[in-house]
Each structure stands twice: as structure tokens, then as C-alpha cells.
């Protein structure tokens, strides 16, 4: 019996395989020289490049490395300030790229095909931005060798395997490596397509990038197996890495941090912010490259539905945190959750977080909102701001107002902190723009597979219809 696919057509416009290649590569092939790009691209690139240069040049390389962490707003109370907020925020965004691509791959959700490549690229640049913060937070980056198990030190000690910070370094290195290889191996067949269609220096570059790949039948079998192994391993890795990031906090005794809910709370938060960023990026890519036949309203609708679901989990987690603080009868916990957050000094970040993450996404219950690009774009940005506020909320209030009121101190970021952050936004933006300009923004080989499946289903459906009519007659 004919089985109807739930999601309908994922590629509109009855595309042939050649059409798919042409559409995905149109923005590249229409530019004759490597430096040719549309005006919007150059404007965005210059803005992000300036942010990156000032941020990574002045704030990171000059102020932080030559003068030290004293140039940041950290103080005795808040030893982890913007650096860790931004680290967790970027890691969260970085998670959803792979989560999006891999969970949907493992669950065989075919609608991932138009979006997975950009989501994976987003992961790489977000994790690079995230990795910068712990690297510079140590103060003397050249001493980072001591984090690695290079051998017993002068006192005969090996590294402390019990430290969540060490797990973090290993987990993030693993995550970056796995995500990069998953992304790159997935692109190799598409590089071969670009190699075939180009000439001169471009052909040489893509010959090098495609490693001479040819779609032999054996190659495709190996390719699929390798991609499934990487994907299958990266899926639990997404969960473990952000759980490990959360143990950086929950292993501490600081009120507001010492919670068993943190690992799932962090993982869900990561997926939430990452999906919002995927939505932001896909709306831009769809709009500027006119790829609405590949990133259809149904695709964006599906992402928005996932966001509703995840935002409900986020809202529940906020409520559970409040309830457990009340139920614990621990005065320190109660102070942070019931006073500081709800009505105290940090009420603005707390309520900002709740409204942006738990309430605003509920607008996605309305089909009209889910189908309106502008609303989708605005809400995706609001969620990303909300998730930044959540990380601010986790990091700052518990440390600024811990056990002894005599120890309390306010935290204010300095210009160096702010430019460190802006620098990473610049790095992310430059990375994404270079990806959009020079690399295949959609997995062409997977889109063609999808187009083939779609044709088969259409044929099956029409055969089924004909048979049904004959039977009725």
C-alpha cells in the first residue's frame, strides 16, 4: 500500500538533479572572480571583520594577553564573568548545529537535507568562538600544555582526572574534531561536483579539497558507513559535552549552581539556542540566495514546532528550579531564587530570560507566526538574547551574592570584556560569510537523494490512485 510521507514535498519546483546543483552553486558560479560578491555580502563582511579585528586584536591579543585578566571586570566574588557566560552561550549555539544535523540523521528525518550543512558550519564557528574563552581565561595561554596529560610533573603528579574543567577541555576538543570531520567528510562529494564544474585555480583548490573523490559505488557505501559512525557517535557526544559543561557549575557548592537538574537543563538550553540560531541563519540564506524551494515554509515551520516544545521544557525547568529552592528550605538557595532572581538586583535578567525563552516562543503556536518570515526571524533573535540572559543569570548572581553578605560585590563588564565578546561575534560572522560565499551551502548529494525519493513517492502515489480508481469502477 502506498505510504504517504508526513511532510509532503521537501523540495519544491520539480527539480532535476542538474537543477539542484545549479541552484545551490548559483551564488558561487555567478561570481567570476574570487573577490566578486554581492554588495550586502561585502558590507556584512567588513562589519564583522572590523568587530573581529578589534575584538581579537585589541581586547584578546593585546589587553588580555599582555596585561592579563585584571583588565576584565572579574573580581573576588565573580571570578567567572563574561568569559564563561559567552563560552556557555557559544557552546550552546554550537551544539544545536550538530544536534540538528545528527539527531535528524539518526532518526532518518529527511527534512534535514536542506539545512544540515549550514547548521554544521554554524557549529564549527560557534565552537571556535567558545573555545577562545577558556583559552584566554587561563591568563597565560602559553601554559595550557599543563592541562594535557603530558606526563607526571616535577612533583610526580599526573593531571587531575577528577576535575570537570579537564573533562571540559577533552570534551570540547573531541566535539570540535568530530563536528569538523563530520562536516568536512559530508562536503567531499560536493567539492568533487565543484571540481568538475570549475577550471583554473578554482579547480585546483577544489581538487585539493575533494581529495580526488569519485562517486564509485564502493566509495558511496564507505562514505555512508563513515558518516553514520561519526553521526552515531556525535549524537550522544552532544549530550555528554553540554552535561560536562554543566558540571563545571553543578560540581561547585555555590548556591544556584549545586543542582542535579543542570545537565539536562543545559543540554536542552543548548538545543534551544542553537535551533534559534539555525532558524536565524536559514532565514537569511533562504532570503539572500532565493532558496525558498529548498528551505520551504514547511522546513521553517518544523523548526518552529521544535522550538515550542523545547521552550516548554525550558519553562518547566525554570519553575522546577524555583520550587526546589523553596522546598529545600536552604536559606542561601532561597535567597538566590526567591529574592535575587524574582525581585532583587537581578530581576531584570531573570524576567528577561523567562519572558524571552518561555513566553515569547509560545507565539509559535499560531500557524500565521510560524509561516511569517519576519516573525520567525525576530523571535529567533529574541530567543538568542534570552539564552544569553540565562547564562548571565547562572553565572553572575550566585557568585556576586553568595553565602556571606559581607562578601557581596557587584559585577560590571569592562570594555575589554565587551570587545572580547564582540570579537567572537565578528569571528562567527566572518566564518559564516566565508562559508556562504565559497562553500556549498547545502548538501547537494543529499538533496539529490531526497529528490529521487520524492519522485518515487509521487510515482507510487499516482499508481496507487489509478489502481484505486479501477477498483472503485
Amino acid at each position: 500500500m502506498y505510504k504517504k510521507e508526513v511532510r509532503g514535498e521537501l523540495i519544491l519546483g520539480n527539480k532535476s538533479y542538474a537543477n539542484i546543483t545549479e541552484d545551490v552553486l548559483r551564488h558561487q558560479e555567478s561570481q567570476k572572480k574570487w573577490y566578486n560578491a554581492p554588495a550586502w555580502w561585502w558590507i556584512a563582511f567588513v562589519i564583522f571583520f572590523i568587530l573581529m579585528s578589534i575584538g581579537l586584536g585589541w581586547a584578546v591579543s593585546y589587553k588580555t594577553i599582555t596585561q592579563g585578566i585584571g583588565t576584565w571586570g572579574n573580581n573576588n566574588q565573580t571570578a567567572w564573568g563574561w568569559a564563561i557566560i559567552n563560552f556557555v552561550w557559544w557552546i550552546g549555539i554550537g551544539h544545536a548545529g550538530t544536534a540538528f544535523s545528527i539527531f535528524l540523521l539518526v532518526l532518518r528525518q529527511k527534512w534535514r537535507t536542506s539545512i544540515n550543512r549550514a547548521a554544521e558550519a554554524m557549529t564549527i564557528f560557534a565552537v571556535m568562538a567558545a573555545g577562545l574563552f577558556p583559552a584566554i581565561h587561563v591568563g597565560r595561554p602559553w601554559d595550557e600544555i599543563f592541562i594535557f596529560p603530558y606526563g607526571p610533573n616535577s612533583r610526580g603528579l599526573w593531571v587531575n582526572w577528577n576535575s570537570p574543567l579537564l573533562w571540559d577541555v577533552i570534551a570540547i576538543t573531541t566535539y570540535l574534531t568530530t563536528s569538523f570531520l563530520f562536516w568536512y567528510i559530508g562536503m567531499i562529494p560536493d567539492f568533487a561536483t565543484i571540481r568538475e564544474r570549475s577550471s583554473g585555480i578554482k579547480k585546483k583548490i577544489f581538487s585539493a579539497l575533494s581529495f580526488g573523490f569519485v562517486g564509485h559505488m564502493k566509495s558511496w557505501r564507505r562514505f555512508e558507513d563513515a558518516v553514520y559512525i561519526l553521526g552515531g557517535l556525535a549524537a550522544p557526544l552532544v549530550i555528554s559535552v553540554h552535561s560536562i559543561v554543566s558540571t563545571d557549575f553543578s560540581a561547585g557548592i555555590v548556591p544556584g549552581w549545586h543542582e542535579t537538574i543542570f545537565p539536562p537543563f543545559f543540554v536542552v538550553g543548548a538545543i534551544f539556542s542553537g535551533f534559534a540560531m539555525v532558524l536565524t541563519l536559514m532565514i537569511i540564506i533562504r532570503k539572500v540566495y532565493k532558496l525558498h524551494e529548498y528551505v520551504t515554509d514547511d522546513h521553517l515551520d518544523a523548526i518552529a514546532r521544535i522550538i515550542i516544545f523545547v521552550s516548554l521544557i525550558m519553562g518547566s525547568a525554570y519553575l522546577i528550579e524555583e520550587f526546589i529552592a523553596y522546598y529545600s528550605a536552604n536559606p542561601y538557595e532561597k535567597y538566590i531564587f526567591l529574592d535575587s532572581y524574582l525581585k532583587g538586583d537581578y530581576a531584570w535578567t531573570y524576567w528577561g530570560m523567562v519572558i524571552f525563552n518561555a513566553f515569547v516562543p509560545q507565539l509559535f503556536w499560531f500557524r500565521k507566526v510560524r509561516r511569517n518570515l519576519l516573525w520567525l526571524f525576530i523571535i529567533s533573535i529574541i530567543i538568542n538574547i534570552g539564552m544569553w540572559l540565562e547564562r548571565y543569570n547562572i553565572v553572575i548572581p550566585p557568585t556576586a551574592q553568595d553565602f556571606l553578605p559581607a562578601n557581596w560585590g557587584e559585577y560590571h563588564p569592562t570594555m575589554v570584556d565587551i570587545w572580547n565578546y564582540l570579537g567572537t561575534i565578528g569571528l562567527f560572522g566572518v566564518g559564516v560569510l566565508l562559508f556562504m560565499r565559497y562553500l556549498p551551502i547545502m548538501a547537494m548529494n543529499e538533496l539529490k537523494q531526497q529528490a529521487k525519493r520524492q519522485t518515487e513517492l509521487t510515482v507510487e502515489a499516482s499508481v496507487y490512485d489509478i489502481l484505486e480508481k479501477k477498483i472503485v469502477k
Binding site: 577528577n162 564544474r197 581538487s207 573523490f213 563513515a226 548529494n445
Partner: protein, 166 residues
């Protein structure tokens, strides 16, 4: 080395052609497609051992990482942190993450090695569109006659002898 190829511009026709070749016992040396065609791989019984090797890499990784952790944190660790041996749940986290890293690197290495992929490697031959929308079936020259009649019958758009670099 000379080979004989038939080129299709439609995957349905390609699969018909492959069916005919299997029925007529014409050995198909290779099929080059722009994307994975599962039915084709099943028809021609194409397998790879990467998944099995991935499992072996996992076993190797778990054993060696456990041994490394045990040596550095139990046998060769001079401090007594809440009692010795210092065999903790930490090992589970590190075993998992370390196993993933090891398997990912070794599987990627295996894929590149088995495919003989390296920068600037030249493809064995190039047919325009074989990475875009053309499907190329490769057979040995000794089967040229039988193959060409099947190609013709099943709607191949081109047939020719080509030079394939080993």
C-alpha cells in the same frame, strides 16, 4: 587501462540497465553516481567493513584508555585523595569522550585510506556531469558487445571506450 562505459541521465533507466546486466551475467566493474543509490548498492551487493572496524576501534579505545587512566590515576599517582585506589566515576566520562575521539579519528583515517584519498589526487577518469546528473556504468572491454546492446536497449545516452588511470 581501457574500459567500456555506458552513461545514463536517469537513475530509473540506470537501475533497469543494471538489472539486465545482472540477468545477462555481464560483470559490472563499477558504477559512478552523483549521490548514493541504495537500490543499486543492494543489487550489486556492495559492502564495506568500516562499521565492523569502527566497533573494533571502540573496543581498542575503551581498553587502552582505561589502562591509561588506571596507570596514571591509580598505579602511578602519589597522592591519596580520599583513599586509594582512586578509581572513580570520572573514568566513565573520560572513557566515553576518549572513545569517541579515538573512533572518529581512526574511522576517518580508514575511510581516507580505503578510498586512497589525498590532496591533489586525480580522479581515475572524468566524464562531464558524473558528479552532477550523469550515471556511469563501467565494464571490462571483453564484455563490450553484450554491454553495448544492454546500454542501447535500456536508454543509455552515451557509450564509449575510455582510459582509466589505476
Amino acid at each position: 587501462m581501457k574500459k567500456y562505459i555506458g552513461v545514463y541521465d536517469n537513475d530509473v533507466k540506470l537501475l533497469e540497465g543494471i538489472d539486465e546486466m545482472v540477468d545477462e551475467k555481464v560483470p559490472v566493474e563499477d558504477v559512478i553516481t552523483p549521490f548514493v543509490i541504495e537500490e543499486l548498492l543492494e543489487k550489486l551487493k556492495v559492502h564495506s567493513n568500516i562499521q565492523f572496524l569502527g566497533f573494533l576501534y571502540g573496543v581498542f579505545a575503551v581498553i587502552s584508555i582505561f589502562a591509561g587512566l588506571y596507570y596514571t590515576f591509580v598505579i602511578d599517582y602519589p597522592l591519596n585523595i580520599g583513599g586509594k585506589p582512586n578509581l572513580s566515576l570520572t573514568f566513565v566520562v573520560l572513557l566515553f569522550v576518549g572513545m569517541v575521539l579515538t573512533v572518529v579519528l581512526l574511522t576517518t583515517g580508514t575511510f581516507f585510506h580505503q578510498e586512497r584519498l589525498y590532496p591533489m589526487k586525480k580522479p581515475p577518469f572524468e566524464y562531464p556531469g558524473m558528479h552532477t546528473d550523469k550515471f556511469v556504468v563501467v565494464v571490462d572491454l571483453s564484455h563490450k558487445q553484450k554491454a553495448s546492446s544492454i546500454f542501447e536497449k535500456t536508454g543509455a545516452i552515451d557509450m564509449q571506450e575510455i582510459e582509466v588511470n589505476a
